[in-house]
């Protein structure tokens, strides 16, 4: 993420104001996990909803929040009092389906100075399973979302190859294909959280990670077709967007498991994910997964592009910066309960969340409800795939007292997710945003006596 510590700190004040407005909507909705009515009302949610609906007549469901009115990602239909007493809307001859008009989760943009170079974050708190709906997959673009006609798009392969090649999308689809369910995470995920807890919800602390099934051609197939020359060691990937985003990839990684994706979750890539072609670099930071891919140039050295020198490097307190820190280390977060939710009284609450590692599979996740004093193993929900979101579950009976919830994952290389203190000990705190990138520390959520959940630092 092209965040710059020189900027007025990333519009965090504006972002907080917007987050507060979003929360206000959720807090007014009795069916939301964020509903903040006083206790007697919360205890009687069902009656509250029914009374509201009666008061508002037949369209009560539509009226209950702002997003449903506009139907973001949905087609809004009239709501009958009883759907079993009247036929529903007819099936269209041809259609591309939408979600229910009552569902309101949206990606939300971090308020950078321009919406052309910006990012939007996935509402992880609302997700179930491991797949992120394509329409909620986080975005990070440096010069807007490119509009490219697949039938006019070409991929060039040149540089230290036997013979330069040019492929149409139709050519690329002729090669044997693979599919892989895989996470992508922006290495700037959580950049506001190094020195103090800043954002309030898990969407804004962790929402720059998403999982899709991606389909395409192994990069090794394409590079073998062009034929690598002796001495070739690096590969430049260039996007066809207005940023002409470029990154250098070590050739051994390119040959090992990279692929050129044209499919996402069973259909063509979404425009904002790089339609019609995206380089997939499993387990490496999101930025290197070049979108709108138009060119691959083989070389003997890295190209030292802007995004691998002035950005996406980890500046340490001694003034040196770590470069080509590409792998995303193991990380986990509890998505429910999470920041700003309000627990509906003592008793049983399932703790659930996601864990992932750029170096392999998640081997275990431990959960603590006492701020890290004691840990117990969570159950991992299958499938547990390498370089993929893995969902975990942990049964918890809340006694009504203050609790600090944490999750800690271990991947199959034996790497243990660090506490924030451990991570800061090796990275330092060079400025309010620390080293900005690659924050994979254990997240803490404080549950107060009244059930209110807050983002805290506790380590």
């Amino acid at each position: 993420m092209s965040s710059n510590s020189n900027e007025a700190p990333l519009g965090i004040e504006a972002r907080l104001a917007r987050e507060a407005r979003d929360l206000a909507v959720k807090r007014a909705d009795p069916s939301s996990a964020y509903f903040a009515g006083d206790a007697p009302v919360r205890a009687d949610r069902r009656r509250f909803v029914l009374q509201s609906m009666a008061a508002l007549g037949g369209t009560a469901g539509v009226m209950r929040n702002a997003f449903a009115e506009t139907g973001v990602g949905a087609t809004v239909h009239d709501v009958p009092a009883d759907a079993s007493k009247t036929p529903g809307y007819p099936l269209a001859d041809e259609s591309y389906g939408t979600r229910s008009q009552f569902e309101t989760e949206v990606r939300r943009r971090f308020k950078t100075p321009t919406p052309l170079s910006s990012w939007t974050m996935t509402p992880l708190e609302a997700g179930c399973g491991i797949i992120t709906p394509s329409g909620l997959h986080f975005e990070r673009s440096h010069a807007g979302t490119a509009v490219i006609d697949a039938s006019a798009h070409s991929l060039y392969v040149h540089g230290m190859v036997r013979e330069p090649r040019k492929y149409s999308m139709k050519d690329l689809r002729r090669f044997p294909s693979i599919s892989r369910i895989m996470f992508l995470e922006c290495s700037g995920n959580g950049l506001t959280e190094w020195s103090k807890p800043t954002m309030r919800t898990v969407q804004f602390t962790h929402g720059l990670t998403s999982t899709s099934e991606w389909t395409g051609v192994p990069l090794a197939t394409i590079l073998k077709e062009a034929g690598l020359q002796r001495g070739a060691k690096w590969l430049l990937a260039e996007g066809g967007d207005a940023a002409a985003m470029t990154r250098s990839i070590p050739l051994d990684k390119a040959m090992k498991d990279c692929f050129l994706a044209y499919g996402q979750n069973g259909e063509a890539l979404r425009p904002e994910q790089g339609y019609p072609l995206r380089l997939m670099v499993p387990g490496y930071e999101g930025n290197i997964n070049i979108k709108w891919l138009r060119r691959l140039e083989v070389s003997d050295t890295p190209f030292m592009t802007r995004e691998e020198t002035s950005k996406y490097t980890d500046l340490l307190p001694d003034g040196k910066a770590v470069q080509f820190s590409l792998a995303m280390e193991a990380k986990s977060v509890i998505t429910s309960p999470s920041g700003e939710m309000v627990l509906d009284g003592p008793g049983f609450h399932e703790i659930t969340g996601l864990a992932w590692s750029g170096r392999g599979s998640i081997r275990r996740v431990d959960v603590s409800t006492d701020g890290g004093r004691t840990w117990r193993a969570a159950s991992l929900q299958g499938p547990v795939l390498p370089i993929c979101h893995t969902r975990f579950h942990f049964p918890w009976t809340w006694d009504g007292g203050e609790a600090i919830l944490q999750s800690r994952c271990v991947d199959d290389t034996g790497y243990v997710q660090p506490t924030l203190g451990q991570l800061i000990a090796v990275r330092g705190l060079n400025g309010p945003l620390g080293s900005i990138y690659h924050l994979n520390a254990i997240q803490s959520w404080l549950v107060a006596n009244d059930g209110k959940v807050s983002n805290v630092h506790h380590y």
């Binding site: 710059n4 020189n6 900027e7 987050e19 507060a20 321009t114 010069a143 013979e163 090649r165 040019k166 149409s168 050519d171 020195s195 800043t198 309030r200 073998k224 077709e225 034929g227 430049l236 207005a242 940023a243 002409a244 470029t246 140039e297 050295t301 190209f303 030292m304 592009t305 802007r306 020198t309 002035s310 003034g319 040196k320 910066a321 770590v322 470069q323 080509f324 820190s325 792998a327 280390e329 920041g339 170096r359 701020g371 890290g372 004093r373 004691t374 840990w375 290389t413 997710q417 451990q422 991570l423 705190l429 060079n430 309010p432 620390g434 983002n455 805290v456 630092h457 506790h458 380590y459």
Partner: protein, 202 residues
């Protein structure tokens, strides 16, 4: 010596293996796509730090100043101090910093390790509203201007494929290789303290 079935099979296998081995180097397995022309490939610019891949052309500081004022100043500031776009100069000496209260100032002058990156990025991606619209001469001139304002080259410098790669950036040796993964032992039963809580939502 009589020729056995096994021998024929072994010979055939060896011939196949030789062919398959050669395929990776000399011959495409599928042969899809076409061979692009030199002109098509010449359209792309991505110089290496040693200067390979830099195009012909040149530009002076004075020419660069004029281009800067027309094309860049509205976002990067009259004095290259930044605005909607990044700050471009200053910040030397701010990278060594252990204070969470004070931000390091990362600019072309203080942070960028390679001068070729400045040409490359400006050529590809700037100005933001019309990327790719600057000529090679204009980009060399802008590079000269920015580097001169950063006190890295002199006021009479001319930037070209010959001179640009020879410029030594102040933070040339500021980068180290990735040393991860780090080893973090699991922490449990240590004395914990709640250090901070996110600001309460209003």
């Amino acid at each position: 010596m009589s020729i056995t079935t096994e021998m024929v099979f072994a010979l055939a296998l060896a011939a196949f293996a030789a062919q398959a081995g050669a395929a990776g180097i000399d011959e495409a397995e599928y042969g899809f796509g076409t061979r692009p022309s030199e002109a098509e490939l010449g359209h792309f610019v991505s110089p290496l730090p040693d200067g390979r891949g830099l195009p012909q052309g040149s530009g002076s500081v004075l020419e660069g100043k004029s281009v800067y004022q027309q094309q860049c100043a509205s976002c990067h500031g009259e004095k290259l101090q930044g605005g909607l776009g990044d700050r471009l100069i200053g910040g030397r000496g701010t990278l060594v910093n252990d204070s969470p209260a004070k931000a390091p100032v990362k600019t072309v002058e203080s942070y960028w390790p390679w001068p070729t990156t400045l040409f490359d990025y400006t050529k590809r991606a700037m100005p933001m509203n019309a990327p790719g619209s600057l000529t090679d001469d204009q980009v060399y001139a802008l590079t000269a201007y920015i580097l001169s304002q950063a006190n890295i080259v002199s006021e009479d410098a001319i930037m070209s494929a010959d001179t640009l790669p020879k410029v030594v950036m102040p933070n040339r040796d500021g980068f180290i290789a990735d040393h991860r993964p780090e080893h973090f032992p699991p922490v449990a039963r240590t004395a914990h303290q709640t250090l901070a809580i996110a600001p309460a939502a209003k």
